[in-house]
Symmetry: C2
Subunit: 349 residues, 2 copies
């Protein structure tokens, strides 16, 4: 066995190997395998090349192709925390799905919130010549994107750019609309006294609170000083806030909650006070944390956060930018009301 044959057996076969096997030049092989139009190759030659490629199990070396073509068919994805939020997985999955469908692969980097890691990660990804970049935030917020992101097509997911940074396209949840959905559900059920156990000053909380007020006003219901009670997004805080509110003689008939954890706290408080949900008290959560909202008794009516959709639309936006198509600067994705068992008509209407 000659050196050449031994080599061809141990190495992955290259285009040259195929060319030699078919008795043609590597140019011909390239033309045939890429179905290059305008290339004139006789049918028999073509067949011989195809057969040789098949027989050798030839697959092009993508690293070489990437260098020549100056594009890597891969996109970089930065997150500031994968596992810190159980939802992040959905975004990653969606981005990966969309990328895969477009023939691309995802290079994933988790910065764990460290800006310096993020910075070197972006550099590293640019050095690898990714076709585009996605930055996904674990919490919905305004932020100043790293200026380096602007070097290639980039898209923000679950956040949006501050006025002073690069104006990258952004895809994030329609918190105002979602908050409206939640509030409207309680209003539609006939509740007139609703208290909002809101989140704590973050952007989603502000948006949802505004929506709550608007819907109440639209329904000509009063929103007095005590109607919005902000606090941390924890079970304990939900419990404490609900407890003090539900002990009032003029207690509300429904509590709108900033998230499912607060709602769970409220549920526990209601039970501790001998109130039955939803008969004595209606409850609406937010986030639709599967493991939580669907596991308690009664199961929580809540609004889902459209994480998969966020990821998909983010990725599709990025692919459009890469393709040179125009895209919307901002895209809000609406979650949906998940009807379960924690809402009923008020007992004394």
């Amino acid at each position: 066995m000659g050196d050449e044959q031994r080599d061809a057996a141990s190495r992955r076969p290259t285009m040259r190997d195929v060319a030699r096997a078919a008795g043609v030049s590597s140019t011909a092989v390239s033309f045939v395998l890429n179905d290059r139009e305008g290339a004139r190759i006789a049918p028999e030659t073509r067949a011989r090349i195809l057969a040789a490629a098949e027989r050798l199990g030839f697959r092009p070396n993508l690293t070489a192709r990437q260098l020549r073509l100056q594009q890597t068919q891969s996109i970089g994805m930065l997150t500031d925390g994968i596992a810190s939020s159980p939802f992040a997985g959905q975004i990653i999955r969606a981005v990966q799905d969309a990328a895969w469908e477009s023939g691309r692969l995802v290079l994933l980097v988790n910065t764990d919130g460290h800006t310096d890691v993020g910075r070197s990660a972006v550099r590293e990804l640019l050095d690898r010549r990714v076709d585009g970049l996605i930055f996904a935030s674990t919490v919905t917020r305004e932020l100043a994107p790293l200026p380096e992101l602007a070097a290639v097509p980039s898209v923000l997911i679950n956040c949006f750019p501050a006025a002073d940074g690069p104006q990258l396209p952004a895809v994030y949840p329609a918190e105002h609309a979602g908050g409206g959905l939640a509030a409207q559900r309680l209003i539609d059920a006939g509740h007139r006294e609703i208290v909002y156990l809101a989140g704590d000053g973050d952007w989603p909380a502000l948006q949802r609170t505004a929506a709550f007020r608007e819907r109440m006003q639209d329904a000509r219901l009063p929103v007095d000083a005590g109607a919005v009670v902000p606090g941390p997004y924890t079970i304990d805080s939900g419990y404490e806030r609900a407890r003090s509110i539900l002990q009032r003689p003029d207690r509300p008939t429904a509590l709108l909650c900033g998230n499912d954890r607060i709602a769970l706290g409220a549920l526990l408080a209601a039970q501790a006070l001998g109130l039955t949900v939803p008969e004595d008290l209606s409850l609406v959560g937010y986030d639709d944390q599967e493991e939580l909202a669907g596991s308690v008794h009664p199961r929580l009516t809540t609004v889902s956060l459209p994480f998969y959709e966020l990821g998909r639309q983010g990725a599709e936006t990025l692919l459009s930018v890469i393709a040179g198509e125009p895209v919307a600067a901002r895209r809000e994705v609406v979650g949906e009301l998940v009807e379960r068992d924690s809402v009923a008509a008020p007992r004394h209407p």
Copy 2:
């Protein structure tokens, strides 16, 4: 402004640009920037090159380097479901952390359980010349790894190879040890009548059941026919099984559960029957599903699944294989007992 200068300004600078700017050959630039030992470059020349590189903001094109060096400093990661399990994120995070520390990036592909997608994903990753591959399963099980995986260094996480497939190194949870931990907790608390609401015939369930029997025997406690009740890993099933068991006059004083969902079902059943946990009934779960085990009242004592550790050890094993170091064929990682509030001494000892 000459063509050349304009080019250098718009393109990312290459090594040639740096060489020209410093008035040397690109070989010299390569030697200096890579600190190649044995290369003889005068200190002034070296400084000039460094200055030029700095001034132009030169960063090497990694695609070109990868082609020349025949290694991509990246690893491929396949999962059969990212978001289906909230834990998968931990494994991904751990793998990415370890890869990053070794100067590598992770190419992530989610197969969603489709073997054909997995197959083409592996091919795609091999075409891109990843240095190694990780396959992570969402459920702990025995499986026949895709034969293609054997083409490069590969490691399995949260699963292990069947006897007939390629024998890849595997890292997975020590279910036997973990099951022992859970059982022992109840035995140590003084319980003598313990029923195991087991999972349904999967590998972890089998391991944990075996461990339960062994610990009981070691403690000279009887394990009669009804002591192990297998069933689905759902809240409902836990509820039903617990209900029928707890209604018996000789009801056990403790229930060991196959996972936290079953345990939650059991908790609800106990409450429905007027039993207090842990006073009347002790409960131990498994998995430590944060959102669930820590949110119910009383909070569940359970055993954690070491997902982060699994990912990290898996990645480190892979890096060792890539480096040509010997590695263990199988590595079991033990979770830990998470003490919370659902275990107490039995009332009638």
